[in-house]
């Protein structure tokens, strides 16, 4: 056997369209390409000439899985450009709706997209035949996340209520109360999820990543903080462009980011966990210590445990916000349009999402830049495969292909975001 090709033309259980092509020559991995061929949609260009108030609604349409992340990054970047700050109960409500999106997105990925790989099922529907309680738990947990987003946002996909400055309408204390009961069940289900994830079979695979995430002085990060890494990075969000660059590979409709002078970096649940373990709630920390390497975890396959821990935290945080909530006087901060440039970076379920806007004096967008988490993880995914494959080349092709897919799904890649679906080609001749 001299060389062969592993091909996956349409990667499943990811959001969007991508493919994988691996070429193996003389039993060595010669090339790995994680190909994104999602049709380009030109969002940054289409935003030019639009009013700042349309920013969150339009960018939400980049991704149906994490619209809140887009709305939050857009709102914070535009507020930075407009010179306003959103605090108090409005800030708390933004964290609450983000908790909803994390719970919904993590439950979807843990139970419907990722767990079937570990247990050897093609999908969660087949898995449900043998593990009905687990799949039901996942669906119910997902539903709770969606209920939070629906109550605060108007609907679960492309919510209509968040806006630059806050919200169009804020809930009463009474409206939030039923969520608390649901979240108490959710928190127990999330703890059960951590136990479920911990007993899955994990390959022995660790790498020395550069993790990049937001870090806030007192909180597990959502909307604010400095960008930090385990390799010495510590910058304001506004310095993002000085430290990170995007390149355009010929095989892709997505741009791939790298940390200038350092190369590939890792964003998402594992990065947040490694950089912010001390900011998790006591309950989430306790659950983590019993289930995964804590406070550091460098096995990307164990990201499924980390997502579960973050789900515990998100339920805890949502409950805390609801308990302390006092309705604000105004649903949104008042805004006077002005010219300026603003930056925003928030923690989407899949990792940091950076937006930058320049506005003219009428409040129209002159320039926009968006760097989604999956385009930041693209290089790391390829590097993981290069390291993961050599010990497994003896496997039959279908098994090897599936394991490669699983390694990609560790990152919950959202290809629609990075613009974009997955095909796996493993070339061996």
């Amino acid at each position: 056997m001299k060389s062969r090709t592993i091909k996956v033309d349409n990667l499943a259980r990811v959001e969007g369209e991508g493919a994988l092509r691996i070429r193996i020559e003389k039993d060595k991995v010669a090339d790995v390409k994680f190909v994104i061929f999602e049709p380009p949609r030109f969002f940054e260009a289409l935003l030019r000439g639009r009013h700042y108030s349309e920013g969150p609604d339009i960018t939400a349409r980049i991704c149906g899985i994490c619209p809140i992340a887009y709305m939050m990054s857009a709102a914070h970047a535009l507020e930075d450009a407009l010179g306003i700050q959103v605090g108090g109960p409005l800030r708390a409500l933004r964290r609450l709706i983000y908790c909803g999106e994390w719970i919904e997105s993590h439950a979807l990925h843990i139970y419907l997209l990722h767990a079937p790989d570990f247990l050897g099922y093609e999908d969660a529907i087949q898995m449900a035949k043998d593990h009905p309680a687990a799949v039901q738990r996942g669906l119910e947990l997902k539903k709770i996340g969606n209920e939070i987003v629906t109550l605060l946002g108007g609907r679960e996909i492309h919510p209509i209520n968040p806006c630059v400055g806050g919200f169009y309408k804020t809930p009463s204390k009474k409206e939030l109360r039923p969520l608390a009961e649901r979240l108490k069940w959710g928190r127990e289900a999330a703890l059960e999820t951590v136990r479920f994830a911990a007993q899955l079979p994990f390959p022995d695979f660790e790498r020395d990543y550069e993790f990049v995430a937001l870090r806030h002085p007192g909180e597990y990060p959502f909307n604010e903080g400095r960008l930090v890494s385990n390799k010495g990075l510590d910058i304001a969000v506004s310095e993002f462009d000085d430290h990170f660059a995007e390149e355009h590979a010929a095989h892709s409709t997505s741009l791939r980011a790298e940390h200038k002078g350092h190369g590939a970096y890792h964003v998402g649940p594992l990065a947040r966990y490694n950089l912010n373990f001390d900011r998790l709630s006591a309950l989430a920390q306790e659950a983590a210590r019993a289930a995964a390497p804590a406070p550091q975890c460098r096995n990307p396959f164990q990201s499924i445990i980390v997502r579960s821990v973050e789900t515990v935290w998100a339920c805890d945080e949502a409950l805390r916000i609801i308990e302390q909530y006092e309705p604000p006087d105004q649903p949104a901060v008042e805004i006077q349009p002005r010219a300026g440039t603003g930056h925003g970076c928030t923690e989407a379920p899949r990792g940091i999402l950076y937006h930058r806007y320049t506005l003219d004096e009428r409040g129209l967008i002159a320039n926009a830049k968006i760097v989604p988490p999956t385009s930041q993880n693209q290089k790391i995914i390829e590097e993981d495969l290069r390291h993961f494959l050599p010990d497994r080349l003896h496997l039959p092709i279908d098994k090897l292909t599936w394991q490669c897919e699983q390694a990609i799904r560790n990152y919950d890649p959202c290809i629609s975001c990075s613009c974009h679906f997955l095909r796996l080609h493993i070339d061996r001749e």
């Binding site: 349409n10 990667l11 499943a12 259980r13 990811v14 959001e15 969007g16 369209e17 999602e38 049709p39 380009p40 949609r41 030109f42 969002f43 940054e44 260009a45 289409l46 030019r48 009013h51 349309e54 349409r61 991704c63 149906g64 899985i65 619209p67 979807l108 419907l112 093609e122 999908d123 529907i125 087949q126 449900a128 799949v135 669906l139 119910e140 997902k142 539903k143 969606n146 108007g154 609907r155 679960e156 996909i157 492309h158 209509i160 209520n161 806006c163 919200f167 169009y168 309408k169 995007e246 390149e247 355009h248 010929a250 892709s252 409709t253 741009l255 649903p331 599936w402 629609s416 679906f421």
Partner: protein, 259 residues
Amino acid sequence: MPQAQKPKLAVWKFASCDGCQLSLLDCEDELLAVAGAMEIAHFLEASRAVVKGPYDLSLVEGSITTPHDAERIHKVRRASKFLLTIGACATAGGIQALRNFKDVKELAKIVYPTPEYIETLNKSTPIADHVFVDFELRGCPINKAQLVEALCAFLNGRKLHAPTYSVCLECKRRGNVCVMVAQGAPCLGPVTQTGCGAICPSYNRPCYGCFGPKETPNTASLSQWWGRHGMPEDQVVRQFRGFNAYAEAFRRESEAHEK
């Protein structure tokens, strides 16, 4: 008698955000029942298992924006007995149809450092511009209840149905105070098809038209009212250029206000 085979369901994606197909996974209470009543034969967002066609029901999400997809949609149509388009991208071209009013080469230069790598069509077009569509569900995103109703109707051999009247009727039924009359807010409700639940006015904001034009919309009259409230022409254009910008009625109205 042998048990009848379950109808085969396929879900297809073209240029989109994945949100409309996610609506199926968001049917947390109905998902396993749907999987019991139908064979999920092709649904890549949910499963790596792919069963060969033909398919009894195909849900198609997304718009046609590349030469490859313009070919692929014909293959999907040939493999499908009943084709249901889901969402504003599939029914009207989606937000990415804003390119249809511009030069796509210029857009590619703005976003990509090496625009030569990008293969794309000048226009983002709805599925019905390419193949026969049996039924469409509007919305950005679609309404889950409308999707479940469509699946039930299909499974029970009933005719698929979705109301085509305006958001205003639903908004009145919800007992909302009209945001346009009371606040002067530029609401697209009078010309937009119902189906969302009139959520925007229920949250104190004007409708932004994500279900596209209702049947026989009087867009010219609505723009006139906005004009009387002092809305500049360029804002009228933006109002109609949202998630259904390339739907006929909205397209014509926005073009009428462009200098």
